[in-house]
Symmetry: C2
Subunit: 407 residues, 2 copies
């Protein structure tokens, strides 16, 4: 397994493009296509929000009912959420337009939107965008990068990544593009992550894999149930690597699972580190929890704590806020028998042990918190399970971005 250059066009048979369609933003790419030469099996997980965006409803239906998919059209600027029946028609028309140009059935075209909730999509501009996308799509690294750039909203840089692994003597490649950025409070920024692979794998096996993977990757930057109206994580596999089918429980499965995890963990961290206004990536590792789920709950609680985030921004080693966030997480632990420490820049500083703060060098701790990546470790000493969650610091810039996002 190795990291390779590129993104969604790294696997065999995938084409992409990103174009300017002026959906909301001017002078930037704001529509993207991902297309496969061959039909793909697909699996995905979507927002748990009661209010689901129209494209989420369309995609969920396709993944449940369509035998295969072959293309994905994404727009930014407008989320097509809170738009009722008319919004759903816009998503279906988007798929229909693209399908006609690509000579596919409508049921083979996924759609995705991100941006402001409320307005309807400007279908005239969407149509022009689709025409450009279909004309320009290509199996090149540049076109993958164009697509990754086009799906951004307030992200500061595109997020693409690719990994190659060996499955039964064949090279299987996985490539991804993702966007996030309203992630400093991960509960409301839309997360979109699209993963393409040339692996031969059944829909059922892929589906199981995706549901398992997401628990330790994207869900560890997004508190469960606190998701936006548009969150979508979709994996499509076109089988062009011609490996022997990856069967659940096999050694191939484990290898593919590891590769997929690497891709998604990388993307999840990249999303957290590029949270709106973020200066630093915060990683929280919980060690020795009694159950995996409790480890996840504790880790997520820390990286979701505004006061912890603000303390990291201020380079203030205020471990009390971490202890407090662990305490209100709902997962059991004994504050009288545990440790909290910071890691970063090659240093490790113990802050709290068995019920009491520990003397530490404030200047050294402050310097550690000034690193671009800060790791908070909580060892709860109860069992054998661990989990990692990712977030970022809370800055003035976050308030600025969100005080004036829509207008």
């Amino acid at each position: 397994m190795k990291i390779i250059p590129g993104g969604v066009t790294a696997p065999k048979g995938f084409e992409a493009a990103g174009v300017e369609a002026a959906i909301k933003y001017q002078n930037r790419k704001d529509m993207a296509i991902l297309y496969s030469e061959k039909p793909c099996v697909a699996a995905g997980v979507f927002t748990k929000n009661t209010v689901k965006a129209a494209p989420v409803k369309w995609d969920r239906k396709l993944l449940d009912e369509s035998p295969y998919v072959q293309a994905l059209i994404v727009n930014t600027g407008i989320a097509n959420a809170g738009t009722g029946e008319e919004g759903l028609r816009c998503s279906m028309d988007t798929a229909k337009e693209a399908a006609a140009l690509l000579s596919l059935p409508q049921s083979a075209v996924l759609v995705s939107s991100t941006g402001v909730i409320g307005p309807l999509l400007p279908m005239d501009r969407i149509r022009v965008g689709i025409q450009k996308l279909v004309a320009q799509k290509a199996h090149t690294p540049e076109s993958g990068s164009d697509a990754a750039a086009a799906i951004m909203t307030t992200d500061t840089h595109p997020k693409e990544f690719a990994v190659a692994c060996e499955i039964g003597g064949k090279t299987v490649t996985i490539g991804a593009m993702s966007k996030g950025s309203g992630m400093i409070h991960p509960n409301m920024g839309t997360l979109l992550s699209f993963v393409a692979t040339d692996a031969v794998i059944s829909k059922e096996t892929l589906d199981a894999l995706v549901r398992e993977d997401v628990k330790d990757t994207y869900n560890m930057i997004s508190v469960d149930g606190d998701t936006s109206t548009n969150d979508s994580f979709i994996v499509i596999a076109n089988g062009m690597a011609e490996n022997e089918e990856i069967l659940s429980g096999s050694a191939d499965y484990e290898e593919f699972k590891k590769a997929l995890r690497l891709v998604n963990e990388h993307q999840a961290k990249a999303l957290a580190g590029d949270g709106e206004g973020a200066d630093a990536l915060i990683e929280c590792v919980v060690l020795h929890a009694d159950t995996k789920e409790n480890a996840r709950i504790l880790a997520r609680s820390v990286i979701s704590s505004s006061l912890t985030k603000a303390a990291v921004f201020g380079h203030d080693a205020n471990w009390g806020r971490i202890l407090c966030a662990l305490g209100y997480s709902g997962a059991p632990f004994d504050p009288e028998s545990m440790e909290i420490f910071f890691e970063g820049g090659g240093r490790r500083i113990l802050l709290y042990k068995d019920g009491r703060g520990v003397d530490f060098d404030e200047d050294e701790a402050s310097a550690l918190l000034a690193e671009p990546e800060v790791r908070i470790v909580a060892d709860v000493k109860r069992g054998g399970e661990s989990a990692t969650a990712w977030g970022c610091d809370l800055t003035y810039e976050y308030v600025k971005i969100n005080g004036d996002y829509r207008s």
Copy 2:
């Protein structure tokens, strides 16, 4: 029932004081006493955080086991949380010192702390502070105000309030002092609220009343289970109004309940409106929910949403963020059959109805959001229950305060 001037010293027989003890802050009052001439029955609710501050442990024990209480000592600057056995000894010693000077049993003295998690209390300075408090305590409006000022941390002004009502021909008075302020994310700012009354009421009846009241007052500015290590709401009643005992279910009970609700709702709103860095009080009213608890969950979700708070700060009528926050609350509703509107400054603006945004005047909406009090109404049209929650906007100042609170 009428609002009267004053705070905790408004009811008969209560004395208070606030003094400078230099616990952490210099040149400001940072210790307070509330004392009753006669023994009091007491009831209270405390943080649900797994990590409980030492004073919370002490007070919980007293309320469970002590037949009466007669005094309360509060310090700010240091929370006495995350301080283990030694911290508990500090709280007990505080009670012991005060008890000796007041000729009370140690078990009649409640203690409360708020401030930084981690450090131990400087007991030498606490002792000097107690001596001053006992020497200066008085049954005057000024001493009540001094105590209300002394319990503040980052609050911008003291929060006291008093109400008088008639119970069986006698005037019963209720007075309160509260502090909050880390409330823009209500989950982590310490909330302290102390209510004194001269009512004759049994401990059991008072306890039931407090537990009912808190659900619609303080818990509506603080998401359940997301509480600081020190949150405390305590009511003490000394019986000096000499009313006939207030019995559960009686008309007197209803009258007293209404008066207590008025006091606590006022204090809760004052805490929310004075959230750290806040420019505006946000009130969210959920109408026609199927159950009371679902109404509360929906209302709390909106006032806890960072993106909604930031939008109010930016005077941006971004109703999509409100819809989104309702959607991830976990409480059921149908986005296709509901309304969202703003109220404020005498105006009412419909934003969303039955699945779609409604045309509205952006300038008018922006002007409404510039008011010091903004009301968001969500009518979910499912049943007969409603609830109100209070929060505040998210501002640059919040990040500033919390990026540099401890250092």
